[in-house]
Symmetry: D2
Subunit: 450 residues, 4 copies
Amino acid sequence: MTLFDELFSYEALQRVFSDESGVQSMLNFEAALARAEARTGVIPEIDARKITEKCGAQHFDLTAIRKEAARAGNAAIPLIKMLTDLVATEDKNAARFVHWGATSQDVIDTGCVLQLRRAFELMDQDLSRLSATLAALAEKYRETPVVARTWMQHALPTTFGFIVASWLDAMLRHRQRLAEIRSRALSLQFGGAVGTLAALAGRGPEVAKAVAEELQLSLPLAPWHGHRDRMAEVATSLGLLTGTLGKIARDISLHSQTEVAEVCEPAGEGRGSSSTMPHKRNPVTCAVVLAAANRVPGLVSTMLAAMVQEEERGLGGWQAEWETLPEIVRLSGGALHHLAQMLPALEVDPERMRQNLDATQGLIFAEAVSTALGDRMGKMPAHMLVEAACTRAREQKRHLLDVLREEPGLRGHLAPADLASLFDVRNYLGSASEFVRRVLAETRELSAAR
Amino acid sequence: MTLFDELFSYEALQRVFSDESGVQSMLNFEAALARAEARTGVIPEIDARKITEKCGAQHFDLTAIRKEAARAGNAAIPLIKMLTDLVATEDKNAARFVHWGATSQDVIDTGCVLQLRRAFELMDQDLSRLSATLAALAEKYRETPVVARTWMQHALPTTFGFIVASWLDAMLRHRQRLAEIRSRALSLQFGGAVGTLAALAGRGPEVAKAVAEELQLSLPLAPWHGHRDRMAEVATSLGLLTGTLGKIARDISLHSQTEVAEVCEPAGEGRGSSSTMPHKRNPVTCAVVLAAANRVPGLVSTMLAAMVQEEERGLGGWQAEWETLPEIVRLSGGALHHLAQMLPALEVDPERMRQNLDATQGLIFAEAVSTALGDRMGKMPAHMLVEAACTRAREQKRHLLDVLREEPGLRGHLAPADLASLFDVRNYLGSASEFVRRVLAETRELSAAR
Amino acid sequence: MTLFDELFSYEALQRVFSDESGVQSMLNFEAALARAEARTGVIPEIDARKITEKCGAQHFDLTAIRKEAARAGNAAIPLIKMLTDLVATEDKNAARFVHWGATSQDVIDTGCVLQLRRAFELMDQDLSRLSATLAALAEKYRETPVVARTWMQHALPTTFGFIVASWLDAMLRHRQRLAEIRSRALSLQFGGAVGTLAALAGRGPEVAKAVAEELQLSLPLAPWHGHRDRMAEVATSLGLLTGTLGKIARDISLHSQTEVAEVCEPAGEGRGSSSTMPHKRNPVTCAVVLAAANRVPGLVSTMLAAMVQEEERGLGGWQAEWETLPEIVRLSGGALHHLAQMLPALEVDPERMRQNLDATQGLIFAEAVSTALGDRMGKMPAHMLVEAACTRAREQKRHLLDVLREEPGLRGHLAPADLASLFDVRNYLGSASEFVRRVLAETRELSAAR
Amino acid sequence: MTLFDELFSYEALQRVFSDESGVQSMLNFEAALARAEARTGVIPEIDARKITEKCGAQHFDLTAIRKEAARAGNAAIPLIKMLTDLVATEDKNAARFVHWGATSQDVIDTGCVLQLRRAFELMDQDLSRLSATLAALAEKYRETPVVARTWMQHALPTTFGFIVASWLDAMLRHRQRLAEIRSRALSLQFGGAVGTLAALAGRGPEVAKAVAEELQLSLPLAPWHGHRDRMAEVATSLGLLTGTLGKIARDISLHSQTEVAEVCEPAGEGRGSSSTMPHKRNPVTCAVVLAAANRVPGLVSTMLAAMVQEEERGLGGWQAEWETLPEIVRLSGGALHHLAQMLPALEVDPERMRQNLDATQGLIFAEAVSTALGDRMGKMPAHMLVEAACTRAREQKRHLLDVLREEPGLRGHLAPADLASLFDVRNYLGSASEFVRRVLAETRELSAAR
């Protein structure tokens, strides 16, 4: 827990990665293992039941585990010792079979996978919610003109609905990615000391299948102790997602600037206020999402670099994952949650969008004119003619249309009425509306398929 | 070109990302655009043909492009100017329609996608070759005992075939990943100045479809100028692949150490020699692959961080991709190539593997004994008894079997013959062979499916 | 060479890291070694002269070195072979002493250090130029009011000179840092095969001292083959510098936005134009600097991760540095150069700055009012009163001063004239001017000290 | 707190970055500010005393701060509100002057600086302890021969003392670096809302000086809100340190491998045991240090990337630092602590070092022979002759000396006795001992200077 847990993440997700939940996930593996070994006749049914009964995190002293973990090198070793002792206090026979045939890494990795599954469920909810909000915004502002900006400069008109639909389009791809990695990521780890399941003699694969069924995880072809691509892929997939969330937040923050003021994060008691400036309304959600987008890439690089693990169990690389992967989930899931929560109340100001379109006195229609002209006099000459007119308009602080009306080079190419119509924003939105339609159609199709 | 192009990469792949190839890829987009616009009746057929004729990189002065790119901010702007001039020297009419309706980013992104497609083809060949080699090695050494090492210490026996099958298993997952991203990554970029295709009036989507067909790229729902997840996903996927290649190289380098000497990179004229030490045979391929595994994670983090791009075309983020993504491909493709090339000649020494298994005088069978005992006296007491015996064996430099024979705690639990049989490596390989079988079966299935 | 060499870097710096220059730097080490060994009587004077004569890069076939490097694992091994052969064609005796007592890493590391020294010289020039420009700008706009923005929202007034002085202040720290690392970074590497200089019997330290003198490099306490902190520190120092350059570029790009328009990169033939939009003037230098600021952090993380090198010469980590460190220098030096080149012509618009201060109808003076009030009625009540007034002003689209004039809560606390004077920007610039003075004084002092 | 707090870090350091300590550090700033403003006559002495009295973390509800921080965007805003209320319950007059003239960032940044100072003190202790241990080890094993390994292969003999002295040499440089950054890093942040200290009218600099004195921090030329190089430099400096710690841990882990067994982490109750393998003694400290070396580089890249902050207070970048910088300190300080704690008990086995030197039957003296020969017959021919002999020795599994005795090419160049003496390890340790002496002398000098 840090002072920033609720700022950068949120309670339900924090709980998934709490110490208690971490211990419970490991215990869930031990219980499933016992049950699976009972089902396959490897250990007695009664002993499995005794073991299962004790697999509740509330029975364990987290401080003691923390202290012992520092000596043993991981948290599973003390936990298993304590579990064995706990079972033994009631039934020495049953205690014999705690953790039977497994190794620390089986417990730790599978425990982590179980936590990831719960985090994915929470994120799925926010992904649905965010997609639905974006779809509604794209629909609502589908025809609302706004300045499109490239290189942080006014470019052409577009619609605000199209901007939002582009955000949504990227989110659709992320949902597809997360669906694709699901069975690879949510996969049982169970290989015993070095992946051969030697302690189970030839019964290993049979037990593994039963454990996977107990935990409803996918069964891998073979244990994957030293091969961390499954875990690293969770990191990279969330890294990609966070990149898009950051892009959305950057867009919102740019559109929210005092001079632009086209959108605004919702107000609210204490939201985005300043300790000294009474007029301030800071875009807090953007800050949170952008902070995540700043932090996750470095954490992803750690997960990738840590893949180079030694032989059958790594020294340093595996250990590097333990806090890094949860941190990635905490930050990306937190950013997703806060954005999904804020967006439905985003304030959008179509009137101000219109004013900004007009602010450059027609310069934003420069391409419209040069395209119309280009058709007649060639792209390059048209480009140069309009470029010169733009410079003149800027220097003389006049409207581009007025400057062009005096331009002799235009005569014979564009009738005055045609020229004027080029400065109507509705005539230069291209296929923005059609693209919005396509993204929305795909969104509906995907929602229906779920 | 650097002094290390052939060390870290290889000629065919370097060629894909040469300046000439970069220019040609952009010209291929311009030619396809012209043809598509002719097909859809947007520009005259004859003009499209004139444009297409000039779309050969050999007609362009790379030094001039390089110089102009520094002023314009990208390489497409000067290239398009030069192409327009070149077409104009023959046909002013045709020159009007060069780059019609497109923007620099359309040219640059689609050009990059075309280069990626060619790189993927090269990598596919090496992935096939590497998989086949790994399958053959796994098959050949399926039953060959070798020390499994965890935390860089002897753990238990495994088989060398299983180690290799685990490498192969990971490679199967990477091939699946690369198949999944294919249509997302190899996707047309075509949106005009701000993604609306406004300059094509309502004809944009129709022209886009035709361009995608011309280039055999997937047609996206909408242009994706500011959304870089497609590009970043190429980076993350190759990052994951490189992590596994690095893991394989680390394993080989550890098994190759002078004291271990279980495998050895092939010798060869000048290969891995030293400038001063005549007896040296350095694992050069491992160094190359590990260098890539060191470098790619940081480059991937750049691609992820660069996703946070401003509005309809970013400032800094987009530009950061231009050299970073090719570098990732160059390094990951290079590592893959060199590993695929070296592995068929890897020298494997089963005899030495056997000696190393014996080197610790039975300690490697400690778990076998404690498992057998655990069944009878409980896991924890057995663990402690054997742990104490191991310490004694180490201190007295005696064989663990001999120490255990004198151990009173064992009596009644294990008959002498049973105890001795626990020290036979063939009795403690668990399901290694079965796991190898499964991975090989899956490999065959996937190969058949291609 | 890539298409972007002149965009992201510049010719003189590219030349420092060209293949030819890389080879020449290694040859400079070999020549210095020969001369030093002659001076100390380890090899004959005449042989040293023969060796030195051949140490010109023009004698060597770079393509052959590139090819051989792929086999040998580094570029020094083939180079030394070729140099030996070349010397031998004239004098077999002299050829005996080529590379006497040294190892590949001595040549490669020291060669790299020599290239870094040349790069530092180039960067020093740009650092001086940039500092001088910033000092002039800070001086000129020392009293020019401009909106200070926090969280991307209007905050309070500041002066443009103070913004620039803050940039300069950071640059002063970077110059101090670069001065501090100089002797650690520009340090001779010379240890022979494993750092003991065994091949020179006991003469090693004496020869090392002579080589350091020849090359005018610092002499380390001991060879540092496996310890890469010197190289990594160059990377981190340039990483810090690039972060500040990126911050400056981000500021400029934000102040340059169409709606803000307070500053503007200079225009120029083809500078920042668009392939389709005639009115565009893109901030190309900002893009270049921000691209560097995007890319360098990942490259620095590679250098840090690569420090974990094995024993007396690493496998993978050392090799990872070879292209990464030059890339960092190329990008940071390039960003520095382009910024230093652009800034003297930066267009600054104090009039527009003034308009933007007025754009929010007095809201920017909210803190001034609440501070004045706070003194009388307490900070929190004042804050709340003014916050409410701001909300009202915003909703009613009125000037804050007008709203406050009607505010009963103010009566008795602030006389009307005092209230009005709080809305004079000159009364709320605090110590901006004093801070500018301090930074400029320090700058002058440092310049004088050089 | 996570399950791994004592594994990756340690209690005293964790405490420095606890929530309570974070809050206390911010309160220390508020108290110092009040005292400084009283001293300079800006606020009444009595009010300052009242404020100071309440500046104890025990008075504050951390859960409430955490919750409010999520709304406000940082933890300082709710803390200041609560402090104001708390003071007001006793004295409304005093409450007026809480946080007078300051902004959230002043509190947060200076609070962080105070935490860093405490962390530096802890790290200084471990740096001293580690240096002293390394000096003792270098002295003790100064003449102990051991195999030097390059590219993970046997190279030449060196001494174990020289290996340790090289570690120490790097540590000396890190201590120098940390000394250099001290005043830059431990610097007051105090600028008010936008760095101008406007709320203090012209008294800002005077108050700032007094606050710096109160807190014993360096006084910067100007506030540095948006310029993060001071914080980022802490990150890079610790990144460099962690890289060296990782290098030391990698060396130890390689020397500890079962087949090498030259050193061994100390045993101890539960230390490095396995959940299933009774014979295991895992190098837990190496794992912890290597995990840190895996994780810190990515975190450093985040700090560098986050430097690109917007204008007078960033959106996303600043917030990204809040958990990242403490994490870097926690990991690097933890790695340092655990290594400093373990090293005094490191088990070193000179006998085994000797055996490993002999294991390759004289190959390790190949360079010694070729150097001796090279003097007579030229470096290249000697190299080739010895290389061929090495290959023969390896193939025939004979001692290199025996093979060379039969070599006709040697005759006339090396007398039999001279040849034999080349195989005495004491004759080929070069200047190892001298380098150890120099590093130890420098260490003593530095210790004396402190």
